[in-house]
Subunit: 530 residues, 2 copies
């Protein structure tokens, strides 16, 4: 059944649209197969015919309806009364809680219209998709070193890792030739099974006498327990050159709960200061941000300072693993901090690497349908990148607006970029052929400039963030986007951008030079501080 | 005794200076009668002869010393050993915790030198000053209405208010002719004494049938209890045109404790995220910021929206009273948001109005000497102004740097502006004649531009801040100034300022116009949000 067939009432007049903090608008509501539109009434307060709302229906996370029958309503007495169910005095309110955290209210005259519209919007549950084997179209392996490891051995090694995710190259650090690899957990199981091919593969990454680090994103306890269900971790005895470090990162249900709790606290208008801070604390969201950034810094430190290669994995290798490898690259590599480079990073480390976007982002913080697979790992990544952009306001070419757009599109999009759970699904569903790419849209010259950071100046150095709890801030631009107006701040940034555009290039270069000088010269850094 | 006579050791070589987050520097330490200087050693890592530290001794809030006698030290056996007490192997560390929240460590070779230096820095307790009657040189009264109230009546009215602070004009709202007055509490005492002259004075402010609001910055309970010690509040029966509202604001010891707890939490490097947020909460600092802003908004609202005059008082009328009246003016009046206007506001509402700076700012958050009179009311005011500047980045002509400078100077200054507790003391001590003014220094063209907000654009409207707890942020620029580098953010602002300076004026005007348009046109505000 097409969605359009579910639409029982396509148009309603005199619908009142309201949204926290903004004046209400009255207009005509239309439902199409993908969008909910509200055009304000001619002659009303707003401009005649202005489209006040243009909402992707799949952006709706939860629908709440409340119908009321006002006291003075008299039901019609004759049976031949015309089928006008828009009975005087009956009306309904639909509250739409969106995946991008926006909350809208529609006051609809007529009870039946209200119920029809609500049922049309209430999207069917996303179909349960079979979990297909997720093989990216290409995987990078250290070719010269792997001459000894044949294709057959590689196949065996793949069978020893959950979902076939054997260790592949995630990032090569040009400064000192160290590598960051990622994989899923080894399938050692309760009998501590070994796999020579897997050991050879990891051995081939390191020279004789060299040491590498395995960063396991689970606690030592959790990694041990995983053996009972067929998983496990690399025992020291079989991988003598690798030192294992456990850095537990939250995933799955607890992370989704954290997100829900935080959004609830942010939306509570009647809260007092103590209660707000204690709810912010008990949501634990900022702890997750801190933990993700710390682990990414650890991976980056192993490579940049210890000059050691790194393998990152948790269990499936598609969630916290990607969070760490992608973040470490933003920290280490200036090319990942450009607008184009960041898109490439997302394509490589999140989309092709098989983060199950369809499962993880099916529902956002408002949904009552408590599915099991939702978890805001991608949002957590965007939040960590925002923390970097706040601590290094010059070093990222893109602005907060890009991060917000990515969040919106991961949860509900008119583009195909974040559809499905892995490359195989995308291939089967012919996503590339049948949808448009978000990147193609973003990279149009007129569009692109909206996402640029006006203060950007290329910084070739590693950006080491402070991960102390006092340095981690709540991402107000995301969590308060629809609650509190950021109009003044938005305008301030627009103004800065406009000023920079009108400026001659040499000035910008000077700013960059000054920055580089002060970054690389510790003496210059101390001067201001005393 | 002059301070210089206390100096036992004026110069020590090879002193190691360190400060969190910055590389340590070795140099020669000198103590003068007002300053502590450290010049780095020629041939050392830093530039030869560079002055690395220039610290006002009265900025030191607490001195901690630790001397160590290393194991291999052998005491001299003969009595004719030369009087070189700089014994090999003994050394000491002095930690200086400053009033501006900076923490410095000096590692000093030689135990005696260390002890001498420490005792030279340990400033004597500030002399207890008699509490003199604080009469400002002028007080503004509504002359036309007070024709009926003679000088004699005024004297009687003054005797009915604590410390003689009868109601005086704090601000006249030109938009609708309403007035904000401030005073101390009426001395009703346990017998509910009345004073006709005080009643007449307040009656004269209002026309017949007009109502005014008394904002009492104590709880109803506290105001009632104050009667037992001679104070009290205005009973409805004697002041029928005035409606009393109680908005308790913290003052005195609890406010100082809040400041100390917050600074301790900010300095705790070993804290985890949950603990940090729970300590931030339990310090209650942000609650005090929220309460102060809310009460100032209430006063502003009474005048601007209810078109009613307002009288603000607590007990003495020199602390929370001034916090509210000064903040309300920043919210209401664009002229108080300019650099010059803000200085005028401070001069009028804090200095001349008799905020006891000497008592309140004698010690900051690190001092072990727990005096009774300290309370960071002025810091709380600056924090509230910072919250306004964050929520309205265009509307204040001055920048965060001015607020930091004001904080520093209120606690330890080379200028006379914040000396003493009131105008009478300043007059007796000949402060104006014998010291320089901070304003004169700040307003020099070269200096002044450091304190300007590059994004400023005159905004004639009232700036109503959001006072929801989620909108109140910790002032990182102050509380983390010496802990975490704000170098990148500072440079970003400097760059914006430089760009604006190089820009032609019409562009800036346009920005202002755009802002005004969007501020006064609610439709324009909604557009971006949907």
């Amino acid at each position: 059944m097409e969605f359009s067939e579910l639409i029982k009432t396509a148009t309603v007049e005199s619908v009142l649209l309201s949204c926290t903090g903004l004046p209400a608008v009255k207009g005509t509501l239309c439902i199409t197969s993908h969008h909910l539109l509200l055009s304000s009434c001619p002659g009303g307060d707003a401009q005649p015919g202005t489209v006040e709302l243009w909402l992707l229906i799949r952006n709706v996370d939860a629908v709440e309806k409340r119908v009321q029958n006002l006291g003075w309503y008299q039901p019609p007495r004759t049976s031949d009364c015309p089928r006008d169910t828009r009975l005087a005095g009956s009306s309904g309110t639909i509250t739409l809680r969106c995946k991008d955290l926006k909350v809208l209210q529609l006051e609809i005259p007529g009870m039946e219209e209200c119920l029809n519209i609500a049922s049309s919007i209430e999207t069917p549950e996303p179909e349960a998709r079979g979990r297909m084997a997720p093989f990216p179209p290409r995987a990078v392996l250290p070719a010269d070193r792997l001459a000894a490891v044949g294709d057959d051995a590689l196949r065996k090694a793949a069978r020893f890792r959950q979902g076939g995710r054997f260790p592949v190259l995630s990032y090569y650090h040009p400064k000192n030739g160290t590598a960051m690899l990622r994989s899923s957990q080894p399938l050692t199981g309760p009998n501590r099974k070994r796999c020579r091919e897997d050991e050879m593969l990891l051995g081939a990454v390191l020279d004789e006498g060299e040491r590498g680090f395995i960063i396991d994103t689970r606690s030592a306890q959790a990694a041990k327990q995983a053996r009972m269900t067929g998983g496990g971790t690399e025992p020291k005895s079989s991988y003598p050159q690798w030192k294992r470090l456990h850095r537990p990162l939250e995933r799955g249900r607890p992370l989704q709960e954290s997100f829900i709790k935080l959004v609830e606290a942010c939306n509570d208008a009647s809260i007092n200061m103590d209660r707000w801070l204690s709810r912010l604390e008990s949501s634990r969201w900022l702890s997750h941000v801190k933990a993700a950034l710390s682990t990414a810094c650890l991976a980056a430190q192993c490579m940049d300072r210890e000059e050691a290669s790194v393998l990152v994995h948790g269990a499936e290798g598609t969630d916290t693993t990607l969070l760490v490898t992608a973040l470490a690259q933003v920290i280490l590599d200036p090319s990942c901090r450009t607008l184009g480079g960041f898109q490439g990073l997302l394509e490589r480390e999140w989309i092709e690497a098989g983060h199950p976007f369809h499962l993880r982002c099916a529902r956002s913080a408002y949904s009552h349908a408590r599915l099991k697979q939702e978890a805001p790992l991608f949002l957590l990544f965007l939040d960590c990148v925002w923390q970097l952009s706040r601590q290094f306001p010059f070093s990222l070419e893109f602005s907060e607006r890009l991060l917000l757009t990515l969040f919106d599109n991961a949860y509900a999009s008119a583009y195909g970029t974040f559809l499905c759970n892995n490359e195989k699904e995308r291939c089967l569903c012919k996503v590339k052929e049948s949808t448009h790419s978000l990147w193609a849209w973003l990279n149009q010259p007129g569009e692109k400039k909206k996402y640029l950071n006006p203060l950007y100046s290329h910084n070739a150095l590693v950006i080491w963030p402070s991960v102390e709890p006092q340095s981690i801030q709540l991402w107000q631009g995301l969590f308060f986007r629809w609650i509190r107006s950021s109009q003044y701040l938005d305008e301030a940034w627009a103004e800065i951008q406009r000023l920079l555009e009108g400026n001659n290039p040499p000035v910008k270069e000077n700013a960059g030079n000054r920055l580089r000088r002060s970054l690389s010269d510790p003496a210059a850094q101390t001067e201001n501080k005393r």
